[in-house]
Symmetry: C2
Subunit: 332 residues, 2 copies
């Protein structure tokens, strides 16, 4: 097998963007410092240097390069996006009372919830300073709207948990908040900073939006059918937390009275017994919910790839296309 | 007694700025809405409509008026400042595990910590959208820096708690973060939006900074010598939480060996016994720490009033001057 083909698309992107990514990492390290409060870089480094894939900043760098950008504000925006992502991870782990993130104990466990909340706030403020430095009001507008959508989606997820009436439309809103809003903002600002034509900026937004949705649907599906050694996710986490993800929403829509009572008990009230996850997986299979969810994920990946048609032909465009394919290839 | 004189300065300011304040309140109500997540306006309304004094938005409105501003971006900025303040209150109450705020149960108690963290994030994002709408990069720069100083000060306060080595300089840094940064940003952006001359903008910043510091020092002093029925504060709260506030820092600096052991036990390790607050208050009196703290508060109030000299003579300027005096008059 050819070595280049064997590499994952985000590794190929990282290789292509290596110089810019190094600049982003240097900027992140410089801006996570705090003259007065050493707790801030400690907590941030724990998360930022735990080997995240830098997927979101790479999207900004790739979009800017694809649109022919030659300045260095894309590095600031890529760091901005990673800071926003890190801030939301810190707050998410407090909200979900998580114990592990990227295979290591979470910051809320190593330090405390207080540090996670406040360092998250600090990183959000730092991201805000970085984007102001670009001097682009349009970029600020895009990122401010993304920040609001992210927080709204998180609140929506909180209130939708254990609610069997949650619809696919609400699910999509939550997914846009928790994942797609930052993906689409990351790609869009790359085009905006490059002064790309409007149709290209719209295409970059559409690509990031669809990529994020495909990514999250795939993630939610893997929570019911994945192999934890391959994905790093524990199968059944969402089930145990009573999250109304797409496979479950589809199965509930097709449920008979007895099945509804089952879902009400295990998700609605959270009274779970041994064997419930197996039963749930059986119901998902019986109603074709896994296959239907898988089809949705592939459709969103196709939407992402199709959006790229409006953008200039270039190796980086092919990699973005491969990335969209890869996100759902995990499901095969 | 003359009725006008009997009124408190912030009530007179509120009367003078009544029309603008009504616009700010309407804007706050409009922007705290969420199409998708009703939990957001519920939590926000609980706090925003609990009868806060709207001191920070009034500072922005007053500064803009004093500098002759005639547009309506000052209303957006005043709402921005109140949203930032509300977001920090929501997060503070999670961090401090508070039960009460403005005489009512806190949001983290009525709902949960999750809602307080995420709704705080939402309000911060909303504040960011509002300030972007003004189109002023300088305003965005000031508020982004203030947000970073606020979060850094909060982290610093967290790590300085129970640390007897905390200096007056660190205390001042914390106070700038928790209080003065938003006061000074609130007044400064009022001048910037009015295109005031640089010396006036600097004076507005200096006024807000000194006012905020005087306000916080007075608050910290009242925690040791206040009358809870008059101030609404419970005497001894900071003591019980092991906060290193100015009176204690001064008393520790003057402590002999036995006194240091006392402070180490009650603040450093938090092992408090009945009567410890009385003992602490006795030590504060013996070393003149209360008087010295009081003198510092009055000096900062004088600094605030002096800064106003660079600004145009006007009734609103007199009210800002009276406000600075009032903040420390609570100590008499």
């Amino acid at each position: 097998m050819d070595v280049v083909i064997a590499q994952k698309p985000h590794d190929r992107l990282a290789a292509l963007l290596a110089e810019d990514l190094a600049a982003v990492n240097a900027l992140i390290r410089a801006r996570m410092a705090s003259e007065h409060a050493p707790r801030i870089p400690e907590v941030t480094a724990h998360l930022v240097e735990a080997g995240g894939k830098r997927l979101r900043p790479m999207l900004t760098l790739a979009a800017a390069r694809l649109c022919g950008y030659s300045g260095d504000d894309h590095v600031k925006l890529a760091a901005t996006v990673e800071f926003i992502h890190t801030a939301t991870l810190l707050h998410d782990d407090v909200v979900d009372e998580s114990q592990q993130r990227r295979g290591r104990p979470t910051a809320n466990l190593l330090w405390d919830n207080q540090s996670s909340v406040l360092v998250g706030d600090y990183l959000f403020a730092r991201s805000f300073q970085l984007m102001v430095e670009t001097g682009s009001l349009r970029v600020l507008d895009i990122l401010a709207n993304a920040a609001a959508t992210i927080a709204e989606g998180e609140v929506l997820q909180l209130t939708a948990a254990r609610n069997l009436a949650t619809t696919e439309s609400t699910y999509l809103q939550i997914v846009r908040g928790k994942t797609a809003a930052l993906f689409s903002a990351a790609t869009e600002v790359g085009g905006v900073i490059a002064s790309a034509p409007e149709d290209q900026v719209r295409a970059l937004h559409a690509y990031g939006d669809a990529l994020g949705i495909a990514f999250q649907i795939a993630d939610d599906l893997l929570d019911y059918q994945g192999d934890s050694t391959a994905t790093g996710k524990n199968v059944g986490d969402d089930f145990r937390e009573g999250k109304l993800t797409l496979p479950v929403i589809k199965a509930i829509a097709a449920a008979d009275e007895g099945e509804r009572a089952f879902w009400q008990r295990v998700i609605g009230t959270g009274k779970q017994e041994p064997g419930d996850l197996d039963t749930a997986q059986g119901l998902l299979r019986r109603h074709g919910a896994l296959e239907a969810t898988r089809a949705d994920a592939f459709a969103w990946a196709d939407t992402a790839r199709a959006a790229l048609a409006a953008l200039p032909e270039a190796p980086v465009r092919d990699m973005l296309s491969d990335l969209a394919a890869y996100v759902v290839d995990r499901l095969n």
